[in-house]
């Protein structure tokens, strides 16, 4: 992990991620997350489901994008496999919007020719694919891509929780520090998975992620885009 990786992992990287709560806003509205203890189980569940998928697909995309001479077909396949792993249309939209914003910022920050070997997706690539492509352009490793993917699954909802629930920021950071080992383990497993065929990558799912996302999409007033 070096400065380049820290730049891409930073919540201040201008990819619009701060606008998304990854289901936390809906979980708070449903009365299921009121404080740090529930936030911890929420984050542990997210890490074991969305975190595993995001980390594995980011690492796999990074591997293909930087290591294969003609990555376009496999990158498209990875993106289709994420569609099959994302039942909720609201989550598919949120993932593609974040992917498009990330790739735009990534291209401007690290204008590497290897990105030209991959066609643009009309709706934007899914976020983990965009993360893998950006990591490749930045010269980062699959391990970096996996770790940044898993880390983002934790930090997005954690900072949303501080805003939504007025949680103590020190307590929230202490919680994230407690989850560091679990996050590292997810990233390590993702690196091992990254060489598998796209069909065999993790597909861990959480029923409430779909249910919360679809409920949230019907709200007229909301603080976060997802």
């Amino acid at each position: 992990m070096d400065t380049t990786a820290l730049l891409l992992a930073d919540g201040r990287f201008p990819s619009g991620g701060h606008a998304h709560s990854a289901g936390l806003e809906a979980a708070v509205a449903a009365g299921q997350v009121n404080g740090l203890p529930e936030l911890e189980t929420f984050l542990r569940g997210r890490l074991a489901t969305a975190g595993r998928v995001a980390a594995a697909f980011a690492a796999a995309t990074r591997r293909v994008a930087a290591d294969e001479p003609e990555p376009a077909a496999t990158v498209t396949l990875l993106d289709e496999e994420l569609d099959a792993r994302t039942a909720s249309p609201a989550l598919r939209r949120a993932s593609r919007r974040q992917g498009r914003a990330l790739l735009r910022a990534g291209r401007a920050t690290w204008p590497a020719p290897l990105l030209n070997r991959v066609p643009a997706h009309p709706d934007g690539y899914h976020h983990p694919v965009a993360l893998g492509l950006t990591a490749a352009a930045a010269g980062l490793s699959p391990a970096d891509a996996a770790l940044i993917g898993a880390y983002g699954v934790l930090t997005g909802p954690a900072s949303a929780a501080v805003r939504l629930l007025g949680l103590d920021p020190y307590g929230t950071q202490a919680l994230l520090a407690r989850l560091a080992g679990a996050c590292d383990a997810v990233a390590r497993a993702a690196v091992a998975d990254a060489a598998l065929p796209p069909a065999d990558l993790p597909a861990h799912t959480a029923p409430l992620a779909d249910i919360h996302a679809e409920n949230h999409a019907t709200w007229e007033v909301r603080l976060f885009a997802s």
């Binding site: 189980t41 569940g45 909720s88 993790p202």
Partner: protein, 246 residues
């Protein structure tokens, strides 16, 4: 216990369906229980309690062009632990040819305390095949916490991934009962409907914890959590009343 059962359904050329192969192996016992309106119904009759830790059960189902098969089970399956904590596995492989129809409507799987079970299904649909696929999971019998159970379902349509979901519950799955995954619900399930000849559905809320969603491919999925198996079934049935008495 190891068992490998095979079931094939073919169009009989007169608008109906016949079973061209029905090879059962205890505890996977298969009985044809009906044939109405071109659809053959087969029940899987549990020949023993289980699956039990150490079991390796396989079921292959093939539905030919123009054939229609409905597969049900007579009772819930209860995944139970083996004596030494061995894993049990139930692997289902399904193919449905163009113009074929499969309704897969089993009773729920119950994850008993200390079970260590995996239910793995792969479904390959040719272009023009139709499918209804129900999955229901109950987390523990009355008043008990479930063991480790994985349900993984992968469906391909015309050679492309349509739906791929893996749900893990139990002590080995971090955060599974929390607000990010099941929110304390004891029952969860889904109903996939692949209907290539019907227009796509719009997303719809069926209740506070049940949604009906169009997938990226020619299919829709209901996903729900509930306090009881009956409430779960109501959610899954409510959106598809025409299927309730299939």
């Amino acid at each position: 216990m190891r068992a490998h059962a095979r079931l094939s359904a073919e169009a009989d050329g007169r608008g109906g369906t016949r079973l061209s192969r029905l090879r059962a192996e205890s505890p996977l016992l298969l009985r044809q229980t009906g044939a109405t309106g071109g659809t053959v119904t087969v029940h899987l009759v549990g020949g023993a309690a289980g699956p039990l830790g150490g079991d390796d059960l396989r079921l292959d189902v093939a539905v030919g062009p123009g054939a229609a098969l409905c597969l049900r089970t007579v009772a819930a399956s209860i995944a139970l632990p083996g004596r030494r904590g061995e894993r049990s596995q139930y692997t289902v492989s399904v193919t449905v040819a163009a113009g074929g129809v499969l309704h897969w409507l089993p009773e729920p799987t119950v994850a008993a305390a200390a079970c260590h079970h995996a239910a793995l299904a792969t479904v390959d649909l040719e272009q023009g095949a139709s499918l209804v696929w129900r999955d229901e999971l109950i987390c523990g019998r009355h008043g008990e916490q479930p063991g480790d159970l994985t349900v993984s379902t992968r469906v391909r349509y015309a050679g492309r991934a349509l739906l791929h979901q893996t749900l893990e519950i139990g002590p080995g799955a971090d955060g599974w009962s929390g607000p990010g995954v099941l929110g304390g619900a004891r029952a969860t399930g889904s109903l996939l409907r692949v209907a290539p000849h019907e227009p796509p559905v719009a997303p719809r809320l069926l209740g506070p914890t049940a949604v009906w969603m169009p997938l990226a491919g020619p299919a829709a999925l209901i996903t729900a959590t509930a306090d009881t198996s009956q409430r779960l079934r109501d959610y899954l049935d409510a959106a598809l009343p025409a299927l309730a008495d299939t």
